[in-house]
């Protein structure tokens, strides 16, 4: 039993968006509808020559005090024993209460048209068989094979760091515990498990 979490090191993210592409192929997300499980925000501040540019990769924060879980009437949104917030595709009715409740823009609709297109592309290998609301799952199917999430494995700059927050030897534990990495919008009380090292 773990408590999986992630640290984003914004000092190293170069905005290549390879994570978005890797996640899409691994999880068959509907990139054809411009919908992704993870995004990279590209923010610039200042005026030339005192300009700063920050790349902020984001995804589901797998909050401990999960607002989307409370909002879901069917229990489709649930948390597994390793702290990963998951959606049971068969139980999701697509009411979007979770999308409204999420403070981190983590969710999107995997609708009927998306399922049809997915079938065209992936044939018998489809992983989304019915329409539902979708989001990052920390690649739980890869974790079951002792592999890191696709975005973490792909990132060329060691921006995404993944591990068990309860494992004292893990990088994520040390970074989160030391306060070097902080969660976003802490004031809301959602207790996210994704932390950020500012650039």
């Amino acid at each position: 039993m773990a408590r999986y979490g992630m640290v984003m090191d914004m000092r190293t993210c170069v905005g290549c968006q390879a994570c978005m592409a890797a996640c899409s192929t691994e999880n068959q997300t509907p990139f054809w509808s411009e919908k992704f499980r993870t995004h990279v925000e590209d923010k610039e501040t200042g005026t030339f020559p005192d300009v700063r540019r920050v790349q902020l990769p984001r995804l589901c924060m797998h909050c401990e005090n999960t607002p989307c879980l409370s909002a879901c009437p069917t229990g489709a949104t649930h948390m597994d024993k390793n702290g990963i917030v998951l959606v049971n595709y068969d139980r999701c009715i697509g009411c979007y209460a979770c999308c409204i409740a999420c403070p981190y823009d983590a969710r999107y609709a995997y609708d009927g048209e998306d399922v049809s297109r997915e079938r065209e592309l992936y044939g018998k290998l489809v992983s989304h068989e019915v329409p539902h609301v979708d989001k990052c799952t920390f690649c739980v199917q890869r974790l079951n094979e002792k592999l890191e999430p696709a975005c973490v494995a792909t990132c060329p700059t060691h921006t995404r760091i993944f591990g068990d927050l309860d494992d004292r030897k893990s990088e994520v534990h040390k970074l989160a515990l030391s306060g070097k990495a902080q969660a976003l919008n802490q004031g809301l009380g959602t207790a996210p498990k994704v932390f950020y090292i500012p650039s």
Binding site: V14, G15, C16, Q17, A18, M20, A21, S24, T25, F31, W32, E34, F36, H39, D42, E44, G46, T47, F48, P49, V51, R53
Partner: protein
């Protein structure tokens, strides 16, 4: 007696930090501070960067970077510039050959440094190297230009100089016509990627060109001009025919590409395409011999592997790679003292993705250039004085570009030279890559296009300083016309306003502007960089001078 070093100190006199500060906007105190810090850090490192060939003086810039690097002893030293494994290997081999007595050089691909360039000249610029008695077209052009006292290039080894003239029927060699009648483009898209677009459009549509063949995986702007398109395996379906050194890696190792999936359609490896063409011309034997010689393969093994592949109806590509494994097996013996069988080589490559024969630490230890081995220069040492540039100066006349010590070549953005007082909507121009497109060939990939969409401005737009845009009444996302004020061409672009660029400069991502509508995703999107470019080459390697102009930016009149 004055040394080269004395010459350098004298020649660098006028080029003070204050002089540089005026040109670069970097404060003189900063330049001084960095110079001192750099000089005292042992080693320090200049990062030379990529894609620099845009100005006449680029070779001088690279040379100066190397000189600075040498002055702090940062050559082939951890923390400085490390030569790659292949360079070490070739240098050691050349040194070894020389010690054995004589100039037996081996194939040009195996010679280090300038030896490689001269080796190429010996083949492509040497009429005696060819049955028909004529050198390569780019060298013919260079020689003829020189004879006529017109601007030429000294080492147009990979240039297209003379090609258009040969197609047009205007090129001669020693009074004889030098015609170009057929062209094979292998995984090349010159209409979109070479400079300028118009030159290649005209060339490929010339009535004098009887046959244009394109080997490609996708429709491109160049396949539109092909008489025959031969469909190629994609990178996932492709086996390479040879083993290759590891690029910038300091250790000595080799790798190749092996297919991830079986070919899905009726396509071929390039090797098979070229071998089949050679076979139908009745020239397969000499072709195989030539490749074996060029690539260091055993011609016997190659011939028998090819025969075996032919009778088993297997792709010939496999024959080549098998021969390459045999050659590598033998070669590894010379490196590690233990020969490997072809099967062992293949097994290591399949398992690890590469075959390491000597790691970086060992190479830097045992083959250090110049601490253990002579550098492939005339003196065997790192030379700051450039005999090559001096030879060019002797041929083409003294000028800063060919100064063998130090020559300052000012920026030229007009026919008269530099320009510092820009007009109201006049800008310096620069271009570069974006992370979502590889070699400008993946812009049709649906997934990458989807990932590009959220950052369409940054990745596809013409970058302009936001404050400057406002002062010109221009806004983000606006369509504009960009005119090359020195050479004339115009293109349309979409503005991306940002503070991440100087107010006097605009930047264009280089990977878009495909016109072929058969490219369902990329066709018709973005701005084609090479439609803004002139045909302007520098006189050493004939590389394109792609930023020696200014541009104007104005709204498109709808």
């Amino acid at each position: 007696m004055t040394t080269v070093f004395d010459h350098f100190i004298e020649k660098s006199g006028p080029f003070t930090p204050d002089w540089a500060a005026r040109i670069t906007d970097v404060p003189a105190e900063t330049i001084r501070r960095i110079a001192i810090e750099f000089g005292q850090a042992r080693p320090a490192m200049v990062d030379p960067g990529w894609m620099g060939a845009r100005y006449h003086h680029l070779i001088g810039q690279r040379r100066l970077q190397a000189i600075i690097q040498t002055l702090v002893g940062g050559i082939d030293k951890p923390g400085g510039w490390l030569m790659n494994g292949e360079y070490h290997h070739r240098s050691e081999k050349a040194w070894h050959n020389m010690q054995q007595g004589g100039e037996q050089h081996g194939p040009p691909v195996e010679r280090p440094g300038m030896g490689f360039a001269y080796g190429l000249l010996d083949i492509f610029a040497n009429p005696a190297a060819w049955e028909h008695g004529k050198p390569g077209f780019s060298f013919v052009w260079a020689m003829e230009q020189q004879k006529a006292g017109k601007p030429s290039a000294f080492l147009p080894a990979m240039a297209d100089t003379g090609l258009y003239e040969a197609v047009k029927g205007e090129l001669t060699f020693n009074g004889e016509p030098y015609r170009m009648k057929a062209l094979i483009m292998n995984a090349a898209n010159p209409v979109r990627h070479y400079f300028p677009a118009k030159r290649w459009e005209k060339m490929l549509s010339s009535p004098n060109l009887d046959l244009v063949v394109a080997i490609d995986v996708l429709p491109s702007d160049s396949t539109l001009y092909a008489d025959v398109i031969l469909p190629n395996h994609t990178y996932l379906e492709r086996n390479e025919p040879l083993l290759y050194p590891l690029g910038p890696e300091t250790g000595i190792g080799y790798t190749t590409r092996l297919r991830a999936i079986e070919p899905l359609y009726d396509t071929r490896d390039t090797t098979d395409i070229l071998c089949e063409i050679a076979r139908r011309m009745g020239k397969l034997e000499p072709y195989l011999e030539g490749i074996a010689e060029y690539a260091g393969l055993d011609p016997q093994v190659l011939r028998s592997e090819v025969a075996a592949a032919q009778s088993a109806r297997k792709p010939l590509n496999e024959a080549f790679i098998k021969t390459a494994y045999v050659a590598m097996g033998k070669f590894s013996g010379t490196m590690t003292g233990r020969k490997m069988s072809a099967a062992e080589v293949e097994a290591v490559i399949r398992e690890k993705g590469l075959l390491m024969l000597k790691d970086a630490r060992e190479v830097v230890e045992e083959m250090n250039l110049p601490r253990k081995l002579p550098v492939p220069t005339m003196s065997g040492r790192l030379e700051l004085f450039s005999p090559i540039l001096e030879s060019f100066a002797r041929q083409a006349g003294q000028q800063p570009l060919f100064n063998p010590v130090l020559g300052y070549v000012p920026r030229m953005v007009t026919d008269q030279g530099d320009k510092n007082d820009l007009g109201a909507n006049e800008f310096y121009f620069t271009y570069g890559k974006v992370p979502v497109v590889l070699h400008a060939s993946t812009n049709n990939n649906e997934l990458l296009a989807a990932v590009t969409e959220p950052k369409k401005g940054q990745f596809m737009g013409l970058w302009i300083n936001a404050s400057k845009a406002r002062s010109l009444g221009l806004s983000n996302g606006q369509e504009v016309e960009v005119t090359n004020l020195r050479y004339g061409p115009k293109v349309k672009a979409t503005l991306f306003t940002t503070e991440m660029i100087r107010p006097d400069t605009v930047f264009l991502p280089s990977a878009y502007g495909s016109r072929n509508k058969k490219l369902s995703i990329a066709g018709g999107k973005g701005t084609a960089l090479n439609e803004l470019m002139p045909y302007s080459i520098e006189p050493i390697a004939a590389s394109f001078m792609s930023q020696e102009f200014t541009v104007s930016v104005r709204p498109v009149n709808s």
